[in-house]
C-alpha cells in the first residue's frame, strides 16, 4: 500500500519481512514469521499473466518437472483469488498429495480506490508466501517452533 501511495504505476515490487499474527500456536502456525509478497500494477494486467509469472517461478525454483495447480480461494484484497499447490512428487515425497505454497490473485479494485488511484485505470496482480511454511510442508521440518528456538542441531541444516 505504501509503495502504491508513494509511487506511480507501472509498479513491480517484491517485499520480504517479518509479520505478526494473533494465531493460536501449533506445529504449523506461529505468531511471528516471515513473508515474501509481490505486486505488479499496470494499466492492463491479466490473470493469465499471474499464472505465467507464478508458473515460471515454480519451474525455476522446483525444477522444470513441477506439477502445479491454481485453485480458487478467497482473500479480501484480491478478486479473483487463488492458491497455488505443487504436487509433492517433485520433492521426492511418495505420497500423492498437493502442497499449498502460495496465495495470489488479481488486486481488488477497492484496494486501488483506497490508495487513491483513478477508478478503472489500473489493474494488478499480487502473490504472497510464508517461507517458514515451505520446509514444513514437505515435512522436512516438523515444527515451526524450531524457527524460533534456533537450536544448534537445527541451525546445522543451513
Amino acid at each position: 500500500v505504501r509503495v502504491m501511495k508513494q509511487h506511480k504505476p507501472p509498479l513491480a515490487v517484491v517485499v520480504a519481512g517479518r509479520v505478526y499474527r494473533p494465531d493460536a500456536v501449533d506445529a504449523s502456525h506461529s505468531f511471528m514469521f516471515h513473508q515474501i509478497e509481490g505486486l505488479l500494477v499496470d494499466e492492463k494486467v491479466q490473470f493469465s499473466e499471474l499464472k505465467g509469472l507464478l508458473t515460471e517461478f515454480c519451474k525455476r525454483f522446483f525444477g522444470p518437472g513441477v506439477v502445479m495447480r491454481f485453485r480458487p480461494h478467497f482473500f479480501p484484497f484480491t478478486e479473483p483469488s487463488a492458491e497455488v499447490d505443487i504436487n509433492a512428487s517433485i520433492l521426492g515425497i511418495q505420497k500423492k498429495q498437493w502442497l499449498e505454497i502460495l496465495g495470489c490473485g488479481m488486486v481488488n479494485p477497492k484496494v486501488f480506490q483506497a490508495v487513491g488511484y483513478p477508478k478503472g485505470q489500473y489493474q494488478g496482480l499480487a502473490f504472497g508466501l510464508g517461507w517458514e511454511g515451505w520446509p514444513i510442508l514437505n515435512k522436512a521440518i516438523m515444527n515451526i517452533g524450531f524457527f524460533l528456538e534456533m537450536e544448534g542441531g537445527f541451525l546445522n541444516n543451513f
Partner: protein, 648 residues
C-alpha cells in the same frame, strides 16, 4: 475445483461426511441447501429442495417488540401450543450426530436441524417461562446478567443485544439462549424465533463475551434476510409434525431493509481481457444462470443480478471471479507479463553491507539466527536492562510478549539457554534484527560467543573464547568498510565492569561490546562459561560515508623493524599506545603491529606486559639506522613519560 475445498471425508454411519472449508466470502454456503445449490451449479444438476409449506396463520400483536430496527432488521416469532417434548426420530438424531451435534429433544433438535439445513439460525423458548408472555429485542442494560444454556453466568452491557421478557434478558441475541427458558420435557408451549441481527453487533458481542456458536458464526458473516421466513416456515412445519402442537399465531416485525445486492454491469470483452482468454457469451450466461444469477445481455454489456443469498457480489470483478472459477483456472492460458515498471530507486547500500557482514561472520564460523521481536519486563530485568524504555504492546498474545524489544541481548540469551539446556555449550551466534523505540525501528547486529574456540581436535579443548575473538570479528567487518574502530571503556549494566566498551568510529558510537556480567548469567541460569556479546547499530553503519578503498602500492625500499617490550598499568589501552607511537613517528614509522600481551608473574600486579613491533619504512628511499634509532628512542621516551610505561 470451483472454490470450496474439501478438507476431509469421514465415513460415519450411513455415508460419507465431508468437511469443507468455507471461505469468509461465502456465507451462503454455510448450510446443506447452500452447498447443494453450489454443487448443482458446478455439476449442472437440478437441486431437489425440501417442500416447505407456506405457513398461514393468525397475525399476532404484542408478542415481540424491537427497540431499534438497526440492530434487528427482521424478527418472526411463531407461537406453537400444546407440544409434546420427546426425543426426535432416529433419522434426525443420526443426521445431527454425524454433524457433531448432540441430539437433545425434538424441539431443540429441529432448531439445530433447520440451522444446518437452511443456514438460518433459530431459537425455541419455553413460552410459559417468558414473564409477561412477550419478548423484546433490545440492548442489555448495565448490571444485567444471564445464565446461558451452558450453565455459565454472564455479565451483560449495552453493547450486547439481548432477547428479554418483561423482567430480564432470556437470551443473548444471535449467540446463545438462556437456561431459564430452555425447552424441557415439561414445556407445553413454544415461541420460535427466526431473525436477522446486525452482523457487526453479533461479532462484537462474541468478542466481548468470549462466546461463539453455530448461530453466531452465521450472523457474523451475514445471514440471508429473505431466509428468515424460509427458516421459520421450515421449522414450524417440522415442529407441528414432530411435537404434535398447534400453531397459535405469528408476529413479524421487520425494518425496511434495502437489499444490498445491486445490479452489476460487466462487459463481456472485459471478462475475456481480464482473464486473458476468450470466454464465449453462451457459456458465461450458462454458468451464471446455474449459480442463480439473472443475466441480460445487450451487445457487449451484461447486466447481472445476484441471487439474494449471495451477499458477496458487488462489483464487476466479483462476476469475473464467478465466471473464472466455473470455467476452471486451468483452462486459462499461461503468459508471462511484460514488466514496464521503472526501477524505484532503493538505497542498496544497507543490503550490501548486511551481505558483507554475513559473509565475514559466517566465514568466521558463526551461525546466523532469527529471534522474536517481542520480549517482556522480566527478561529485560534478568539482563540488567530494566532501565531501558521499551514499547508496550497494547494487546499482547501472552505476558511473555508484552514489549517490543529495545535490544537483542535477552532473546539471544534465551537462544543460548535453550542450546545449553540441550548440551550445546559452544556457540557463535549473530542476529541482524531490529530494536524498537518510540521514534522508530533500528536495525542492529548482535553477536554472541561462548564456549570452546574450536572443535578442531588438534587444539586443546579447554581453549575457550575470550573478548579478543569477538573483537576480531568486529574488526573484520569494520575493516571491510574501510574503518578502524576505537574502543572506549564505558561501564554498561549488561557487562562486567572490567570488560565493557563502546565502539567508536569518527567519534560516533557504533555499538557496544563486552563480557556479560555474571549477575546476568545467574539470573538466566546460564551454566556454561563466560559469554561475550556485542551490539552494532547498523543505522549508524549505513550512515558512514562510503570509503573509497585505494590500492596501496608495495614499497620498494626495505623496512627497519624494532620490537618493543614494555609493561603498563592495566587500564592503559593498547590503541592509545599505538596512537602515541604513530604521532611521534615523524613520518618514518609506517605501522605498529601488536605481537602479544602477557599477564604472567614476571609482571608487577596491576600491570600488563605488551610486545609490539614498530615498522619503519619510507616509500621513496632507504632509511638509515641512525635516523630510525633517533625517532625510536624518542617514541620510547614519550611512552615512558606520558603513559608511565616500564621498558623491559
Amino acid at each position: 475445483m470451483a472454490g470450496l475445498e474439501i478438507e476431509a471425508i469421514e465415513n460415519v454411519g450411513k455415508g460419507p461426511v465431508f468437511e469443507i472449508e468455507i471461505t469468509p466470502n461465502r456465507p451462503d454456503a454455510l448450510s446443506m441447501l447452500g452447498l447443494a445449490r453450489e454443487i448443482g451449479a458446478i455439476t449442472d444438476r437440478q437441486v431437489k429442495f425440501p417442500k416447505i409449506k407456506n405457513i398461514k396463520t393468525k397475525a399476532l400483536k404484542n408478542l415481540v417488540h424491537i427497540e431499534n430496527k438497526a440492530d434487528c432488521g427482521r424478527y418472526i416469532a411463531t407461537l406453537i401450543k400444546q407440544v409434546t417434548i420427546k426425543p426426535s426420530p432416529v433419522e434426525m438424531m443420526e443426521k445431527l450426530s454425524s454433524m457433531g451435534l448432540k441430539p437433545i429433544n425434538n424441539a431443540v433438535d429441529i432448531t439445530n436441524f433447520v440451522l444446518m439445513e437452511t443456514g438460518q439460525p433459530l431459537h425455541a423458548f419455553d413460552f410459559d417461562k417468558l414473564e409477561g408472555g412477550r419478548i423484546e429485542v433490545r440492548r442489555a442494560r448495565s448490571g444485567e446478567s444471564i445464565v446461558t444454556l451452558d450453565g455459565v453466568q454472564r455479565k451483560l452491557d449495552p453493547s450486547i443485544l439481548v432477547i428479554a421478557d418483561a423482567q430480564k434478558p432470556v437470551a443473548i441475541a444471535g449467540i446463545m439462549g438462556g437456561l431459564g427458558t430452555e425447552i424441557s420435557t415439561s414445556t407445553k408451549n413454544i415461541l420460535l424465533e427466526s431473525a436477522f441481527f446486525d452482523m457487526g453487533l453479533i461479532r462484537q458481542a462474541c468478542r466481548t463475551l468470549g462466546l461463539r456458536s453455530d448461530s453466531s458464526y452465521r450472523f457474523e458473516r451475514q445471514v440471508n434476510i429473505k431466509g428468515v421466513e424460509t427458516g421459520a416456515n421450515r421449522a414450524t412445519d417440522l415442529l407441528l409434525q414432530l411435537t404434535q402442537g398447534q400453531i397459535a399465531g405469528r408476529q413479524e416485525v421487520s425494518a425496511n431493509i434495502k437489499t444490498r445486492f445491486e445490479t452489476v454491469k460487466v462487459r463481456l470483452s472485459d471478462i475475456s481481457s481480464f482473464l486473458g482468454g476468450d470466454v464465449p457469451l453462451m457459456r458465461v450466461k450458462g454458468w451464471l444462470t446455474r449459480l442463480g444469477f439473472k443475466v441480460k445481455a445487450k451487445g457487449d454489456i451484461l447486466t447481472v443480478n445476484a441471487p439474494d443469498n449471495r451477499s458477496d457480489i458487488h462489483q464487476d470483478v466479483d462476476i469475473i471471479e464467478e465466471v473464472s472459477r466455473m470455467m476452471g483456472f486451468d483452462k486459462l492460458p499461461v503468459k508471462l507479463p511484460i514488466i514496464k515498471a521503472v526501477n524505484i530507486p532503493v538505497d542498496k547500500r544497507p543490503r550490501q553491507i548486511k551481505d558483507k557482514i554475513r559473509q565475514i561472520l559466517i566465514a568466521g564460523g558463526m551461525d546466523e539466527i532469527i529471534t522474536l521481536s517481542m520480549t517482556n519486563t522480566k527478561a529485560l530485568q534478568k539482563s540488567q536492562m530494566g532501565d531501558v524504555q521499551a514499547l508496550r504492546i497494547f494487546n499482547p498474545l501472552t505476558q511473555d510478549q508484552e514489549l517490543m524489544r529495545p535490544g537483542l541481548l535477552p532473546s539471544m540469551l534465551q537462544v543460548t539457554l535453550t542450546n545449553m539446556n540441550r548440551g550445546q555449550k559452544d556457540l557463535k551466534l549473530f542476529e541482524i534484527g531490529k530494536r524498537y523505540f518510540i521514534n522508530g525501528e533500528k536495525e542492529t547486529l548482535g553477536l554472541l560467543l561462548t564456549g570452546r574456540r574450536t572443535r578442531d581436535w588438534r587444539y586443546p579443548s579447554k581453549d575457550v573464547v575470550d573478548i579478543f575473538d569477538l573483537k576480531g570479528l568486529l574488526e573484520g567487518f569494520f575493516k571491510a568498510l574501510g574503518r578502524s574502530p576505537v574502543y572506549k571503556s564505558v561501564a554498561l549494566p549488561i557487562f562486567d565492569p572490567a570488560c565493557s566498551a563502546e565502539i567508536d568510529v569518527n567519534n560516533v558510537i557504533m555499538g557496544t561490546v563486552g563480557k556479560i556480567d555474571h549477575t546476568v548469567l545467574n539470573n538466566w541460569d546460564l551454566k556454561g562459561g563466560d559469554i561475550y556479546f556485542a551490539e552494532v547499530f547498523l543505522d549508524k553503519v549505513y550512515a558512514l560515508p562510503p570509503q573509497e578503498q585505494r590500492y596501496q602500492p608495495l614499497c620498494g625500499f626495505p623496512a627497519i623493524v624494532r620490537d618493543v617490550s614494555l609493561a603498563v598499568k592495566k587500564e592503559v589501552a593498547y590503541q592509545d599506545i599505538e596512537k602515541l607511537c604513530l604521532s611521534k613517528g615523524e613520518g618514518l614509522l609506517k605501522s605498529v603491529h601488536f605481537i602479544e600481551q602477557y599477564l604472567g608473574n614476571k609482571i608487577q600486579p596491576g600491570y600488563k606486559g605488551l610486545v609490539f613491533s614498530c615498522q619503519y619504512q619510507k616509500i621513496d628511499r632507504t632509511l638509515r639506522e641512525e635516523e630510525v634509532a633517533k625517532v625510536h628512542d624518542q617514541i620510547l621516551q614519550t611512552l615512558t613519560a606520558e603513559l608511565k610505561a616500564i621498558l623491559r
